[in-house]
């Protein structure tokens, strides 16, 4: 049982590394604006926040916090934060 568990972990690791190295975003997704990403991603957990709720500096901090929760990609976080800072 322990051997099977180790094998599964190792195989998962290889698949994971392969995925990490082949991660490419499609043009359709990369063309999305911060406003689009804000509308699509925030509501996955909660209502879409109003940009006026926080200052630009605060949005930078909230952006990092939300990335740890929703596991946004870096590009998504940057675009959403830039949109909210406006």
């Amino acid at each position: 049982m322990k051997k099977i568990f180790v094998i599964v972990i190792v195989l998962t690791g290889f698949v994971f590394i392969a995925l990490m190295n082949s991660c490419k975003v499609s043009q359709k997704v990369s063309m999305k604006t911060g406003a689009q990403l804000w509308a699509e991603n925030c509501q996955r957990c909660h209502n879409t926040p109003s940009p006026s709720s926080f200052s630009p500096q605060q949005w930078e901090t909230v952006g990092l916090h939300m990335q740890t929760r929703a596991l946004l990609t870096d590009e998504e976080r940057n675009k959403i934060v830039e949109f909210l800072k406006q």
Partner: protein, 405 residues
């Protein structure tokens, strides 16, 4: 004399021009110095408010409410009815300010103390290092990545209903350790990962497990991991699979090698079908702990049982976010929850709840909820050991207010 007049006619305009020039230059100098002074003042003000690389802020949440309930317990053909109300209900008051420290864009400290029915406690306290694109390394005290409910959906201002789904959140520990996580694009899709190594759960005398122990009870660490996939480019659907594996017995005890294996499957679908925002969430948890012997506290005899627990919920909500006026702030929500704890243990039961709610959103982060929950529980605890407690039904009306700070 004529020559003198001619000279005067030539020199006078030149003199006047020169005087005008001197006056204009003098005025210009006065204006410039005034503007410069103002600019200098503004520069000083800007310098005094210049944002540094670090930033500290307080967010968090507060919830409060009222609950009124009626409980009927039937044991050996005899029913007992209990009615009560509480203001606020013990499980639904919380004041949890969350402190966020950001060091540039690479480090984030999160600390959330909480004042609730449990007194003063800490929800999480950890440091995250944004080490590379798609890689966050975290250390400290954090919610483990088992499913998504506890980590993303449990906060009072996020949860659509006043109650948590039984068992689901309880089976997700907050623990001390390290974690790596991140999100990556995958063509039109996205995936995310979240792996943690922590002290792990600890087996109790009755076969339940506890978490969040700052000192490990054995030398074995618990691995928890979740993989999530968002198959559509609009991020409307996320499915995830999680597992948690670790020994839970005390070091040096006969139960040292007792393994606890927990699995979770989660689904989250949120999409706007104009003008209705549809929100569906579900999670299924399965927990298996190796079969070992426990001591009956009443007579010190040994007993055992199949230590298998399941908990799941399916929740749906709709809100006409695309409508105009008052109605766009109204949300309807419903949830079915099932929680089955081990048969023939001291705490075995089959429990089910149906929960419905009507919410009014004052803003994107402030909500007033009216929730009605019907609970039915059948004890499956050991009759031989004297733990059987009959059948219980409870109907509760919750009035709940939640705000994100």
């Amino acid at each position: 004399m004529i020559q003198g007049n001619k000279l005067l006619k030539i020199l006078l305009p030149i003199g006047l021009l020169l005087m005008q020039s001197f006056i204009a230059t003098a005025q210009q100098t006065v204006v410039d110095s005034s503007v410069l002074d103002r600019l200098n003042e503004l520069e000083k003000k800007v310098a005094s408010t210049k944002p540094g690389e670090d930033h500290v802020m307080i967010v968090g949440l507060a919830t409060m409410g009222f609950a009124t309930y009626k409980t009927t317990n039937t044991l050996n053909g005899t029913s007992t009815v209990t009615k009560g109300n509480s203001f606020p209900d013990a499980d639904h008051f919380e004041l949890s300010p969350m402190f966020l420290w950001r060091h540039g864009n690479k480090f984030l400290v999160e600390f959330e103390p909480s004042f609730s029915n449990n007194g003063l406690s800490v929800n999480w306290a950890n440091v995250s290092w944004f080490a590379a694109p798609g890689l966050i390394i975290r250390a400290g005290y954090f919610v483990l990545p088992l499913g998504t409910y506890a980590k993303r959906e449990a906060a009072g201002w996020i949860n659509k209903l006043a109650t948590d789904p039984m068992g689901v959140a309880d089976m997700t520990p907050t623990d001390y350790g390290v974690e790596v996580s991140g999100g990556q694009p995958l063509g039109n899709m996205k995936f995310n990962y979240d792996f943690a190594l922590t002290n792990g759960n600890q087996l109790q005398a009755d076969g339940t497990i506890t978490s969040g122990n700052i000192v490990d009870n054995n030398n074995n660490k618990t691995f928890t991991g979740r993989l999530g996939l968002l198959p559509f480019s609009n991020s409307s659907l996320e499915v995830g699979v999680s597992g948690m594996f670790g020994k839970v017995g005390d070091q040096g005890s006969e139960q040292l090698n007792t393994m606890a294996k927990v699995y979770a499957f989660d689904l989250n679908f949120v999409k706007l079908y104009k003008p209705i925002l549809v929100n569906i969430k579900a999670q299924y948890n399965i927990q298996d702990i190796d079969k070992v012997y426990y001591t009956n506290p009443s007579d010190s005899s040994l007993y055992t049982f199949n230590n298998h627990t399941t908990a799941y919920f399916v929740q749906g909500s709709i809100r006409p976010t695309g409508a105009e006026g008052f109605i766009k702030n109204i949300e309807l929500a419903g949830r079915y929850t099932s929680f089955n704890t081990p048969t023939n243990s001291s705490f075995g039961s089959d429990q089910h709840t149906i929960t419905v709610g009507l919410n009014y959103w004052f803003s994107w982060r402030t909500v007033f909820k009216v929730t009605y929950e019907s609970y039915k529980g059948n004890s499956t605890a050991s009759k031989l050991l004297g733990f059987y407690s009959g059948t219980t039904t409870t109907n509760t009306l919750f009035i709940h207010f939640a705000i994100q700070l």
